[in-house]
């Protein structure tokens, strides 16, 4: 496009803006779009900041409460448990991603791997389960609809009112006209994205990596450009405004409402996973084979007992220099954790495979592509959640085993087995509260910028292919209209 053509396209874009500003519907839709984006950015940011603050406080409080416990039997502390909270990345204020569904805190205790808790969507009523009005949701779902409302008649209006022939007869190429209309829509996108850009800058101030923020915003710009191109394509290809509007509405329903559901249904069909109840029964059956770690006389530990006696060259557990009950608890926890981890890893693999199937639908719907890119960039994707679960599991195992070590080394076996005789023996079976300093400081860090960028590549590719294909179709349609 030469300078003169660009200048003409700019003139057309300016006129399109003049048309929008003089049209009550267009200006109303534009104001609604701006207000929606702006308000959701403000509300979500305040909400996330409060949540962040709360989680930070709760993490400190949980640690404080744990270490302030009085002298106790170490195994009671294993069951007393501890909380681990995930502090979201600054960009999570714009896209809470899977956090809203998976939860952001885990209760850590012995012999159990708990799921994350406090998911907004799980706590909500049925009516709120449709998804929160996050900035990401607004830009992914509502802004395309607003763009359709404003731009569906961009070219078809000219054809319907016969001004298209008049424009073309002035020597203006259809492609310059299309470029002008697209330029107007793209400048509109810039305006609608402004609140998102400003809050992106705000997240940089809160410690987010600038390259990740740029990638996040660029992804959204690509996504909305795809919608602008789609609007231009249908508006050029169809001769009537009503046809263009109907077709674009259908495309919006297909891409933004139906396709994400089709993607998740396809994912769960192609990668079937056992239900929670079924998995729980299988896990319990597997754990039963390991024996009860609370019962040192469980036949499942006979071999372990024999090996210990042999190791220390003694005849009875009473002669062992360590607390046999503690050793059983420690061994049991290790075996149990191996089994639990096996199931947890299997479940996470299934979830990841399902997610991958679902993400491939980005080739069929740009909304799926941007949703993936957005969550990955914001550090609120399933991969990040899995890392949180793995890190908290390691934290759980370490702290339980640290308490078991105290049990093994600092509590006399005789005192231990007599703990329930009377109050005195109960007190005798306690260890000093100084031993509760076993908690490692837990801080969940967001994925590194390079990891997030690397994971975004395929979504970027999907968006770019969408742009290339749409530009190709526009060229074909434009040639026909010329």
């Amino acid at each position: 496009m030469n300078l003169s053509a660009f200048s003409t396209a700019y003139t057309i874009a300016k006129d399109e803006w003049r048309y929008w500003l003089r049209s009550k519907i267009a200006i109303t839709v534009l104001i609604i779009g701006l207000l929606l984006t702006l308000s959701s950015v403000i509300v979500t940011s305040i909400n996330m900041l409060e949540l962040n603050h709360d989680r930070h406080d709760l993490q400190n409080a949980a640690e404080q409460t744990f270490v302030e416990q009085p002298d106790r039997h170490p195994h009671r502390m294993v069951h007393y448990g501890h909380y681990a909270f995930r502090l979201p990345s600054p960009l999570a204020t714009l896209d809470p991603g899977v956090d809203a569904y998976t939860g952001n805190s885990v209760f850590l205790e012995g012999h159990r791997q708990n799921s994350a808790m406090f998911a907004d969507q799980r706590q909500g009523t049925a009516l709120t389960k449709l998804g929160s009005l996050s900035p990401a949701f607004i830009v992914q779902v509502l802004v395309p609809l607003l763009l359709i409302l404003i731009g569906y008649s961009s070219v078809s209006r000219e054809r319907e009112s016969q001004t298209l022939t008049f424009i073309l007869s002035q020597g203006t190429s259809i492609f310059v006209l299309i470029a002008g209309k697209a330029l107007a829509l793209i400048s509109l996108i810039g305006l609608i994205l402004l609140p998102l850009i400003l809050s992106g800058l705000f997240t940089i101030g809160n410690g987010e990596n600038p390259i990740v923020v740029a990638s996040f915003l660029l992804g959204y710009a690509f996504y909305l450009i795809i919608w602008a191109l789609m609007i231009i394509l249908f508006s050029t290809a169809l001769s009537k405004n009503s046809e263009s509007f109907t077709a674009l509405t259908f495309v919006w329903i297909l891409f933004c409402i139906a396709m994400p559901r089709i993607a998740s249904t396809t994912a769960s069909t192609t990668v079937p996973s056992a239900g929670k109840l079924e998995t729980d029964f299988t896990v319990i059956a597997e754990l039963r084979k390991l024996g009860d770690g609370h019962n040192a006389n469980d036949p499942a530990f006979a071999k372990f007992k024999a090996s210990l006696l042999a190791q220390y060259n003694v005849d009875t557990v009473e002669d062992l220099p360590i607390n046999f009950r503690g050793a059983v608890a420690s061994r049991s926890e290790a075996e149990l954790t191996t089994v639990l981890n096996k199931f947890a890893e299997k479940r996470m693999d299934e979830e990841l495979s399902q997610t991958q199937v679902s993400r491939n639908f980005g080739w069929l719907s740009p909304m799926v592509a941007i949703k993936t890119l957005s969550m990955i960039s914001a550090g609120t994707s399933i991969e990040t959640h899995h890392r949180f679960m793995r890190e908290t599991e390691k934290l759980r195992f370490d702290f339980v085993q640290s308490l078991n070590k105290v049990h093994v080394e600092q509590l006399n076996y005789q005192d231990d087995i007599n703990r329930n005789l009377n109050e005195k023996s109960s007190k005798q079976a306690r260890v000093d509260s100084a031993n509760w300093q076993v908690l490692n400081d837990f801080t969940f860090t967001p994925d590194s910028p390079s990891t997030r960028l690397q994971r975004s590549v395929s979504s970027y590719l999907q968006l770019l292919v969408w742009i290339i294909v749409l530009v190709g179709f526009i060229q074909l349609t434009g040639r026909r209209a010329q």
Partner: protein
């Protein structure tokens, strides 16, 4: 006085055939319009008049034969040919949300033409558009007023070639006379004008030559005598004869 670029503009249709539907709309159409000449294609409904104009604007692709503007095949140099032509549609469709002045400014800027407000005012005066309407939104305009605005735009474009589709449609008798006078003035200043019309009287008033078009074919031509006009009665007779044939 409106200035016209002095280039050797010629409109030429040779064995031009346009086949959008069956039967073909234009069948081996042959005619030439010389520089500074007003050529009127006269024909009834469905004769192929508007199709001829749109073919010269590149909106229809010839099935065979040639449609040339200034010795260039229209389809081969679409943008250049369109830049040389000022097209006046039968029913001028300008933007209702803009004023006449804004419409003119917008379309001129699309053609990369800069004109002062004085030039625009002069053009409005020349087409006799009442002054109180110049800065009024066009949604309040009558068909005749819209036509006058489009004519003003065509004048301001200073194109060497004018393609006029039923240009006096919707104009009152006084405005028609003024328009005819304007067309003659343009021709005298060197503009080449191809107009299509079914108005025999109007065509005879302004045209140097008239071509009778029937079912996509030229069935007769009339030349104006030296310093005179084409005989209306003769054309009318031929037109009526051909139409009833």
């Amino acid at each position: 006085m409106i200035k016209i670029q002095k280039i050797n503009s010629v409109i030429e249709a040779s064995s031009l055939c346009v086949d959008i539907n069956t039967p073909p709309i234009l069948k081996t159409l042959n005619f030439q319009v010389k520089k500074g000449e007003v050529y009127a294609l006269l024909g009834g409904n469905g004769a192929g008049k508007s199709t001829t104009l749109k073919t010269f604007l590149g909106f229809n692709i010839p099935t065979s034969g040639n449609a040339k503007i200034d010795d260039q095949e229209v389809t081969e140099a679409l943008d250049t040919t369109r830049e040389k032509c000022a097209y006046l549609p039968e029913s001028a469709t300008l933007y209702p949300h803009l004023t006449a002045r804004e419409n003119i400014e917008y379309f001129l800027s699309l053609a990369n033409i800069r004109k002062s407000q004085d030039d625009i005012n002069q053009a409005f005066q020349k087409v006799a558009l009442q002054q109180d309407a110049w800065d009024r939104h066009m949604q309040t305009y009558s068909k005749g007023m819209r036509q006058k605005t489009a004519i003003a735009l065509a004048l301001l474009r200073e194109a060497p070639i004018f393609l006029l589709d039923e240009p006096t449609s919707g104009l009152d008798p006084v405005a028609i006379d003024e328009f005819n006078h304007l067309v003659r003035e343009l021709a005298l200043s060197g503009a080449t004008i191809l107009m299509v019309t079914h108005d025999v009287y109007g065509a005879c008033q302004v045209a140097d030559r008239i071509g009778l078009l029937r079912n996509g074919e030229l069935v007769g031509e009339f030349d104006a005598p030296e310093n005179g006009r084409i005989d209306t009665e003769e054309v009318h007779r031929a037109f009526a004869q051909k139409e009833s044939a």
